[in-house]
């Protein structure tokens, strides 16, 4: 894989990785601290470890999706189908379990469905050369429709206790939700993958300059296929956790979840047009938006307004990215 042209892609000079600068990380961190402080004043005890950790149950699934979406967006793509695919995985898993398949096998089938759904997106983007927005807008409808069709809009609910433990139990004095370490492990693994491997470098370079990447001997197609496949696998993991947390598999699961996921990634500093961003920023984006949504709901702001806030933060995130880019390097 030796580059044939000398340019920004020689092995010694990796593609410019604009990780969220210190200032940006600080701004997000201060924002998080500020909102938690305000909520803590309104609701004493909001910032206690127990409360903060318990709230993580509401964003582990969204967080896992945001990690995958970081790869997709850095590579210059977008995946609108994640929430629909999550519902499809959940329904496939639930129905195959109900039909008599042992649950571990049903979980594997769900994982295969997720990866398959992701690869399908990736194949259409990479090999058919279609725009990811259009492809995943279509599969958003296709996966959701399939979930409704195969489940007949009925729910599967009789999961065994060992399975629901994944989403409903705690350890260390009942403080840490069981699913939280899954998010942390995924974050560390994906951070390593994105920032310490050649695959990670290819993700950035595909997003920064696809043509130059192609000319330097990288298979853009295979890279894209792998990125969307990875996204699909993470969707399946999130689907398993959510199904366990709610002990129900149903076709209308996580309706509209793609919006907060994309908002968190963009808020975390990943450029919507690709080429820049990172896992640390996304994690902060997840925390800022998730605690904001939870805090607003906890002080009694109706959920409808929570949606308004997510939309506003998506715009703010994009705007902030532009401002930070113009600042002197």
């Amino acid at each position: 894989m030796s580059p044939t042209i000398v340019g920004p892609l020689t092995p010694t000079e990796a593609p410019r990785r604009r990780r969220p600068s210190l200032t940006r990380t600080m701004v997000l961190f201060l924002l998080l601290l500020a909102e938690l402080t305000v909520f803590n004043l309104l609701l004493p005890g909001y910032m206690s470890p127990g409360s903060l950790l318990d709230t993580s149950r509401t964003f582990v699934e969204t967080g896992i999706l945001a990690l995958g979406m970081t790869f997709v967006i850095i590579s210059g793509g977008i995946d609108l189908s994640v929430a629909s695919l999550l519902a499809l995985v959940s329904v496939v898993m639930g129905l195959s379990f109900q039909a008599g398949l042992p649950l571990p096998a049903a979980m594997l089938l769900g994982l295969a469905t997720g990866i398959g759904g992701g690869l399908l997106n990736g194949a259409a983007v990479a090999y058919l050369g279609l725009h990811p927005f259009v492809v995943t807008l279509a599969t958003m409808a296709i996966y959701r429709g399939a979930a409704y069709a195969i489940s007949n809009a009925a729910a599967v609910s009789d999961f065994p206790p060992w399975f629901t433990t994944i989403g409903q139990s705690y350890f260390i004095n009942g403080l840490v939700p069981t699913q939280l370490p899954i998010l942390l492990v995924a974050a560390i693994a994906l951070w390593l993958l994105l920032s310490r491997t050649s695959f990670g470098r290819r993700v950035y370079s595909v997003g920064a300059n696809e043509l130059a990447t192609r000319f330097s001997g990288v298979s853009v197609e295979r890279t894209k296929l792998a990125i969307y496949g990875l996204m699909g696998g993470l969707v399946a993991v999130a689907a398993i956790i959510q199904t366990a947390r709610l002990s129900t598999a149903r076709a209308n699961a996580s309706m509209g979840l793609e919006l907060p996921v994309i908002a968190m990634v963009v808020l975390g500093g990943t450029r919507i047009t690709g080429g820049a961003g990172g896992i640390l920023g996304t994690l902060l984006g997840v925390l800022v938006l998730a605690y904001l949504q939870d805090g607003l709901a906890s002080v009694g702001v109706r959920n409808d307004w929570g949606l308004v806030v997510v939309g506003a933060f998506l715009i703010l995130g994009v705007l902030a990215n532009e401002l930070f880019r113009k600042s002197p390097r």
């Binding site: 206690s48 409360s51 409808d304």
Partner: protein, 344 residues
């Protein structure tokens, strides 16, 4: 619009410094420990959780809940998902458990999905009851049933007998052949007919699929080809509207009796024009009102199935129909005289 005295309070624990959030978080948190005492609310806070917030039916239930809360000195906090989103409702319940409300009174979107969160609430000492739509029995103390299926069936058949007589050919229009509540109402109607008016014959059951246009079309076709039909039973609110529309289009007002479940906002024009004489439902205002009275009894520790009933303000005493189930009362009948009083 935030009234700090109405916010749910929670026990304030000494906050340890967290490595992740750094020193600042620790300092701010300990500062807030000092502030927490002034923020303690007076009286208990009860969470009243509907299936979704914006539906007029649930808005009406909230009116009743707020009325009861005012009478009992309870703060009733109304919050639910925007649409029928189970995960959203679970998140809301989890949040209520964290914020430490005194009680949760909920209309569940799913009987099993809500159970773990409500069980956790009960383990923390939060009182739980369900209204309108139940959860698995161990996840709540008591369920408030809006109206018994047999009472609804009885009321519908009596309306039909009054309008069309006690014998002849009839037809039934239902929204679904699988939904458990509609199946139970259909059975109650048939059981009542078998017991009281064996001369009534239900020739067939048409499926309207809760779609006004579809219901209207199938009713039009059926009534055209079966002119001997004396009346139509409707098993859901949408079916009642579609049948009324079909009867209106055929100009058969007064010749065909319509009897069934009706929702005031959609059936109002047909009641006013006399196409539908009477429609059966229950009052969501009263459900909300009764649910909060039951909550109050739970908080006071006075709810006791052995007594056989529970006091519910202007509704009088509500009866236990099982050791963990309370009946709201007889169904509500909408007529030309009272339809203007109901807005849901």
């Amino acid at each position: 619009m935030l009234n700090f005295n109405e916010l749910p309070t929670r026990l304030c624990r000494p906050t340890r410094r967290q490595t992740l959030r750094g020193i600042g978080a620790g300092l701010l948190a300990s500062a807030s420990t000092l502030l927490s005492h002034s923020a303690l609310a007076e009286g208990s806070t009860v969470a009243f959780v509907p299936k979704f917030t914006s539906d007029p039916y649930f808005v009406s239930a909230n009116h009743g809940a707020q009325e009861a809360g005012k009478a009992l000195g309870l703060t009733v906090h109304y919050n639910g998902p925007v649409d029928a989103d189970v995960a959203g409702q679970v998140d809301i319940v989890d949040r209520l458990v964290r914020s430490g409300v005194s009680a949760i009174s909920i209309c569940a979107l799913d009987p099993t999905a809500l159970a773990p969160s409500l069980l956790r609430a009960r383990r923390k000492g939060i009182k739980v009851n369900t209204w309108d739509a139940d959860v698995t029995p161990n996840a709540r103390e008591v369920f408030l049933n809006q109206a018994s299926y047999s009472a609804i069936g009885n009321a519908i058949v009596d309306i039909m007998a009054k309008g069309a007589g006690t014998s002849g050919d009839f037809v039934m229009v239902t929204g679904s052949l699988t939904a458990s509540n509609m199946l139970a109402w259909m059975k109650a109607i048939k059981d009542t007919i078998a017991a009281k008016y064996p001369g009534m014959v239900i020739k067939t059951t048409l499926l309207g699929e809760q779609d006004i246009q579809k219901g209207t079309d199938i009713t039009l076709n059926y009534l055209r080809s079966h002119p001997e039909t004396k009346g139509v039973f409707t098993v859901d609110g949408v079916a009642e509207v579609s049948v009324a529309e079909a009867v209106k289009q055929l100009g058969l007002s007064g010749k065909i009796t319509i009897a069934g479940i009706g929702v005031p906002n959609s059936i109002r024009p047909y009641i006013k024009s006399g196409i539908v004489k009477e429609a059966v439902l229950w009052s969501p205002v009263d459900i909300g009102y009764a649910a909060i009275y039951i909550t109050k009894a739970q908080l006071d520790g006075t709810l006791d199935p052995a007594k056989g009933s529970v006091a519910a303000g202007r509704l009088g005493n509500l009866k236990f129909t099982a050791k963990d189930e309370i009946l709201l009362g007889p169904p509500l009948i909408f007529t030309q005289a009272n339809i203007e009083n109901y807005h849901f």
